[in-house]
Symmetry: C2
Subunit: 167 residues, 2 copies
C-alpha cells in the first residue's frame, strides 16, 4: 500500500483493491485518523457552536467542536481534550451517539459522536492550549435556533447538521 502523499492531517495511499467479485481495481484512498464530534449541552439546554476558518472553503463556518483522535488516545479522552481546546470547558458527562463515515467512497475517517454535558472550567494549571492556527469564536444557542441555522443554510457542515438531529 504505497503512501504517495503525507500531510499533518491526512495521507494518500494508492492501493490495488480486490473487490468481492474478484476483480482488482486501483484506488486512491485518503487515510485520516478517527475523529470525535461533540454536542456540548449547557445546564440551560443551549448547545455551544464554534466558528472557525476552514482553508478548503476560504471562509469561517459554524460547526460543533470536533477533532482528531491522537495515537494511543481513547475517543472519550479526545472528546474531553478537544472541548478544552475549542470551547475552554471540560465535560464531566460523555455519552456516545454513534459513529459514521463522512466520505466512505475515498476516505477512511470515522467520526465518533458524543453528547457532552456538566461542563466545567478547566483547571487553572491545565497545559492544554488551542491549536496555533485555530482562532475560534463560540456561541451558545438553543437547539431550535441551531436547527433554524441549518434550515436557512447558515450551518453548512454535515456532521453538525446530523448531530443537531440527535440533540
Amino acid at each position: 500500500m504505497p503512501t504517495v502523499f503525507t500531510s499533518r492531517v491526512f495521507s494518500v495511499e494508492v492501493d490495488t483493491i480486490r473487490h468481492p467479485n474478484g476483480r482488482e481495481h486501483e484506488a486512491a484512498i485518503v487515510r485520516h485518523p478517527p475523529s470525535v464530534v461533540m454536542i456540548p449541552v449547557r445546564e440551560d439546554g443551549r448547545v455551544i457552536l464554534i466558528r472557525q476558518f476552514r482553508a478548503p472553503l476560504k471562509e469561517a463556518i459554524w460547526e460543533l467542536p470536533a477533532g482528531k483522535v491522537q495515537p494511543g488516545e481513547t475517543a472519550e479522552a479526545a472528546a474531553t481534550r478537544e472541548c478544552e481546546e475549542e470551547i475552554a470547558l471540560l465535560p464531566r458527562v460523555i455519552e456516545p451517539l454513534g459513529s459514521f463515515y463522512p466520505s466512505p467512497g475515498f476516505c477512511d475517517e470515522l467520526m465518533i459522536f458524543f453528547r457532552v454535558s456538566q461542563l466545567q472550567p478547566p483547571a487553572p494549571d491545565s497545559t492544554i492550549k488551542p491549536d496555533e492556527d485555530e482562532e475560534i469564536e463560540t456561541r451558545a444557542v438553543t437547539v431550535e435556533e441551531a436547527r433554524g441555522m441549518v434550515a436557512r443554510g447558515e450551518i453548512v457542515d454535515l456532521k453538525t447538521a446530523y448531530a443537531l438531529t440527535l440533540a
Copy 2:
C-alpha cells in the same frame, strides 16, 4: 496552488492560506467535485438503499444513491443520471433538501441533497450503464426501518444517516 496528487476521484493541493488574522499557514487540501445524494421515494413511501463495496473500509455498506457532478452538468442532471446508474430508475420529481460539506477541515466537496420521486424505468435505448467497478445491491425499506438501521449501526454512512432525518 500546486497540485501534488491527482486521481480519478480527487486531487490534493498544497496551498499557503492567509487566515483572517493575517497569518499564513500551509494547508493540504483534497479537491473533490460537488456530489449529489438522493433519497429515492417510491409510491408506497419506501426509500431505496444501495449496498456497495467501499475500498477505504474494505467492505460493502448501505447508503443512499450518490455520485459526483460531472463538469458542465447541473446537480439535477447528475441526480437523474446517478439514479439511472445506481438503481435503474429515473425520477420525474427532484426536490432540493440543502447542501452540506462532509469534511470542511481538509476537503472542498459539497454534497447536494435531493428527494427524488415518481420513479420510472429508464428508456429501453438509454446509453447510461453502471460504472464498471460498481456492483450494487438495492433494497426498498420504510423510512422507519431505515432509521432503525442507523440506530443499530447497520448504516454507518453519514450522508445517509442525515438524509434519513429529512425523509
